[in-house]
Amino acid sequence: MTHLLIFPILIPMVWAIISLFFRMNDRYVGISAIAGAVVHLVSTGLLLTAVVKQGVTVLWMGGWTFPAGICLVADLLSAVLVVTTAVIHTAVMIYACKDLHTRHVRAGFHSFMQMLTAAVCGAFLTGDLFNLYVWFEVMLMASFGILVMGHPAGRLTSAVKYVTLNLVSTLMLLTGIGLIYGLTGTLNLADLHEKVLAVENTAALTSTAMLLMTAFGIKAALFPLFFWLPAAYPTLPAGVAAFFGGLLTKVGVYALIRLFTLVFVSQPQITHTTLMAAALLTMVSGVVTAAAQTDIRRILSFHIISQVGYMILGLAVFTPLALAAALIYMVHNIIAKATLFLVGGLIHRAAGSFHLSHIGSLYKTHGLLAVLFFIPAFALAGVPPLSGFWAKLLIIYACLESRLYVPAALAAAVGLLTLFSMVKIWMEAFWKPHPRNTLSPDEAPPRNRSLSPWMLTPVICLCLVTVLMGLFIEPLLALSVAAGEQLMDPAAYVLAVKGGK
């Protein structure tokens, strides 16, 4: 059963190679990519059921066991996130099938996307710090490739910002890895859990922790390290923006959660207090900046930043419930955010622009689109009974339980401001009369394009997931609480890696 661990990485890699050979055949490569994504989704589903049944699952690569070997580890946190990745990957592949231009397909879009998915899954599943670095590099390379595809001038300058800041962050990550290897003599995460307790030089250990926190903070777009994100994401095609905006920052969040529950827990008054401050500032600065934007994609990009703050807040509170809340928040946010970016793309298709001042009256012309926007937008803001409500409720409840009243109040206030931004898009794009049509509002707007069912279907499915997650939260809640307890007490994780052989 442990071999299930390799498939979420292997399947997209194999498909990436196949897609590379058949990329000129742009009709079939899209369909084969959808098939690959579905196979990947099934494999991740099997992995999740195996992890739920058997607890932490470990696979030693090449048969080399502890301490010499390199392992893949799946606990509940990893498994849930891998399934979410596969869901978004499938949705984006179906959407991209009609959204993409032939020249993007021929430039190897599908190969890049599949390598990106493999790298994201690899980062979620690896049990070794250096391999985490390698997966991050694979992820970066694939995302660079997608970012510069088609190379319009605006996207190149934003790619320069994205590439340079991310390269600096990888160098910091590598420095941190070198230092922690010097301090402990190991890079296996489970082994580090025990070895860091024996390190006498706590100052060096905490500095290393902070260095790694900064490196992953750049990846996760924490305050004040998020400037690459609003520069790069709004220039991407909708399907790609959905994948990037939904998933890539969350890999940074995952790495922070993994490191600061499993490895760096000896000095929480320094590390977790810093995380708390960063989380609160991220939440507030992201949402306030979003309120000043008028381009749909830029509003959504700043909200990614603000939402990352909530997840890190869950980590900083550092109780089993708070970590469970962080996991629910990640799952909810990955799905809702990806849906919103896809809907943003649909709005662009329907109305011809992303600028709120150039569009309007979509409610009249595209009623279905209004519903599809409404669901993820209000889930993001935390309106009951959608998934975001439970995520926010749990975070605030966990804060109150730990007597952190200011963070709880801020979390509620930021939720309100999120609602403000979403209502702004709603009013401007859907309710306001079309700016070109103000004289005769009864007339249909000039750019009334129909939307392909290939693009609508994945968005409808993701919206359904958001609604169902809100209505039937118990299974996910039970899973997340179990994951939170697993994270707070890593004994099972360590035992599975060290004793499992």
């Binding site: 032939t102 390379m141 088609g150 190379h151 319009p152 605006g154 890895i177 622009s353 992303f354």
Partner: protein, 136 residues
Amino acid sequence: MEPLLAISVGVMIAGALYLMLSGMLVRFVFGFVLMGNAVNLLIFTAGRLSDTAPPLIAPGRTLPAEPVANALPQALVLTAIVIGFAMTLFLLVLLYRTYDRTRTLDADQPVFVNEQAGTDDPAGPDPDGPDPKDPA
């Protein structure tokens, strides 16, 4: 030996930061390469320097006869060098294409500073619209 290497790592990082912050993107590349080398040196130093034999095992034996140097940091550095090499190449090509399009590599120029660059410009062509040169 360690203090000497530690100081050189510090000097290299300082120089790299100076280059990276200068605002010229070509200098950023030089800074990136320098910093990459500094970090590799740091990993190498952190993995303990020792005056021992190279980690090779003689034919017919399963264990080395004498204490050997730690091979893992060397493997890590090798991986980091390869990845860093690929990243540098990508960065150079990206900067070349950017220069091709914008005619500048000064990060203080409006084309880099303007946050709205590349987002939906209603006056300009759709960045993802069909390429006029595209036969399809």
